[in-house]
Symmetry: C2
Subunit: 363 residues, 2 copies
């Protein structure tokens, strides 16, 4: 099939690399001619085409998108002519924190206390209900910890609201969590479901640095609960494709933080670590192919993001059971330009490898 | 780096799929706009460019080729301006059976008795020396068993020579072999070497149907001998990139059949079965990157070619530990249009899977 992707970043790139062996072809909407996916299919440059969305609609048998920040209006228009997966509903809800929270509430899925904030006065009222500390977040377009402000006391309220630049926001109660976990799943057109194991995500300055897969010390129970929440969300959205849930693991169990209607940075380990990668499974799902086995191949895997600078690539390539994935992006502070997957037979071996790897990457 | 590939078939396609994650870019010389590699990089169409070889030379930092039937003259010209790996010498020798045999003799590597044949009279003289049965083969351009004639008796001599259409040929003594094995290795610019395990190849009507990796019941001794022969050839050719040797396994040990200066159909299992695939290792070698670990990930692997017709793809995709690789080629009798990799924990499990797979593929 011909697959149209809205966006041409690293996710589109890895979708294409996994989709060609299944005989699919790819087209991308781009903003420049040098994006990560530019060489991997046809490109419809937004600055050169009069209507790149229309062009991709004419090219594609099915359309998907890289980001939850995709314009819903565009997806709605494309959907009138070509199938789009995940559908408009998944996109509409997951691109807005208030809509997400409403979904979680309606499905009895626990999340942090929260309240919509559209003014300084709203913020004061919300803080009265939720209390300190709390986090003020833009309702849309947040990524890598951007558009967030932690409020510890009254004195920060004005500054917090100013930092939102007047956009629609949400106040969330601060969750004291042990760690962040995420669950990636895929749902097919025929309602088949497959789940990857819960993974542990380690952030620094709001940016994902490392994922450990599977997460260490996970009860069978917790995996089941996470899958139960996932299933409710997938079915409610009638979702087709990969969906990711980010969880806070707390003393009282799992709280859902947010969802993404797409392949996710915390699932990049699956390229070298699972029988079928998240990318291949997304492609299988949206093209109506049977879903692939999500079982890990190795006992322990890790994904380490390459952020800002590439580091000592040659030393990385010499490491055993280590796989390099670069995105053809220029080096720039805080930019994700690639990742490294490491596989190991034991937790100790994995930790040893990760310590070694640290030497070769920028601090 | 920018990698130029002469040819745009499935080998170029799989080289590109493995090379993008290492941040390389690809260009291909093509004969049409719908070849297996056409969507995976820039294309220089021989029918549209005045000189596609010159175009690819201008594009590329390094050039490689898909086939040992590539014109040596083209490679020689490109080499004057851009590095080409494997070099002209590897290509020149491996594209001609008589030159190959001379190389094996000079390195004391055992092969079948053989004699150059350029006329009917040559053929008679050669048969006097070699005896019946013997195989007459075109010296160049043979593939999938084409250009070969088995001669059992005097009465077939005229017909055999006629079938060669007057081209340069070679008569080889018929080898009674137990099975065909192949060894794939890679040599880097810095003279580093890595070897995959010997694999067993099963042919039907001269076309490779199936590879079992590693080959069953292989002495450590045989692997060592095969690697010793390989090393001699790699070093003599100063070869950079992947090289394949096809062996006959006989009661008296290994005889070399032929070599190919490239990734090989019998190495396609490495995509899902080895830590680093033959494709990634070829790309690493020709771009001066460190070579990757060649260790198998699973106890037993098999590669099954999809020939002529695609078969029941959906059933194949539902099988555990099974990976589909299609080449975007139209169905046609005896044409390799894809392959399937199967991984298993034991020989029995692998055989069970292969029996199941058989149902889904054309006979």
């Amino acid at each position: 099939m011909k697959i149209g992707v809205i966006g041409a970043g690293q996710l589109g790139r890895m979708l294409a690399l996994s989709g060609y062996p299944l005989n699919h072809q790819f087209g991308f909407t781009t903003k420049s001619n040098n994006e990560p996916s530019s060489m991997l299919g046809l490109v419809f440059n937004e600055n050169e085409c009069q209507n790149s969305a229309e062009s991709i609609m004419n090219f594609a048998d099915v359309v998907t998108y890289e980001s939850e920040n995709t314009d819903v209006e565009i997806i709605r228009n494309i959907s009138k002519n070509v199938k789009v997966f995940p559908s408009e509903k998944s996109l509409f809800i997951s691109q807005h924190r208030c809509r997400e929270k409403k979904l979680f509430d309606s499905l009895n899925i626990p999340c942090a206390p929260n309240q919509k904030v559209n003014s300084l006065n709203d913020l004061r009222l919300a803080l009265n209900n939720i209390g300190f500390p709390a986090i003020l977040k833009t309702a849309t377009n947040g990524y890598d910890g951007k558009g967030q402000f932690v409020i510890h006391s009254d004195s920060q309220i004005d500054k917090a609201w100013d930092s939102m630049n007047g956009v629609e926001s949400i106040l969330e109660g601060f969750v004291s969590f042990k760690r962040e976990l995420s669950l990636i799943a895929v749902r097919g057109i025929d309602n088949d479901h497959k789940y990857y194991p819960l993974v542990e995500n380690i952030h620094h300055n709001g940016i994902l640095r490392k994922t450990i897969a599977p997460a260490n010390r996970i009860d069978h129970n917790i995996q089941d609960i996470a899958e139960k929440y996932m299933r409710k969300i997938l079915d409610e959205l009638d979702h087709v494709g990969v969906l990711t849930i980010e969880f806070f693991e707390t003393d009282k169990g799992l709280l859902v933080n947010e969802i993404a209607p797409r392949v996710h940075n915390s699932g990049h380990w699956t390229i070298d670590g699972a029988t079928t990668s998240q990318f291949e499974n997304h492609i299988r799902a949206i093209t109506g192919m049977p879903l692939g086995d999500t079982t890990p191949i190795h006992n322990c895997c890790a994904m380490v993001n390459i952020i800002g600078k590439t580091g000592d690539t040659n030393s990385v390539l010499k490491m055993p059971n280590t796989h390099l994935h670069l995105y053809n992006k220029k080096e720039r502070k805080d930019r994700k330009i690639g990742h490294i997957n490491v596989n190991a037979g034991s937790v100790d071996e994995l930790q040893k490898r990760l310590s070694q790897l640290k030497q070769y990457l920028p601090k």
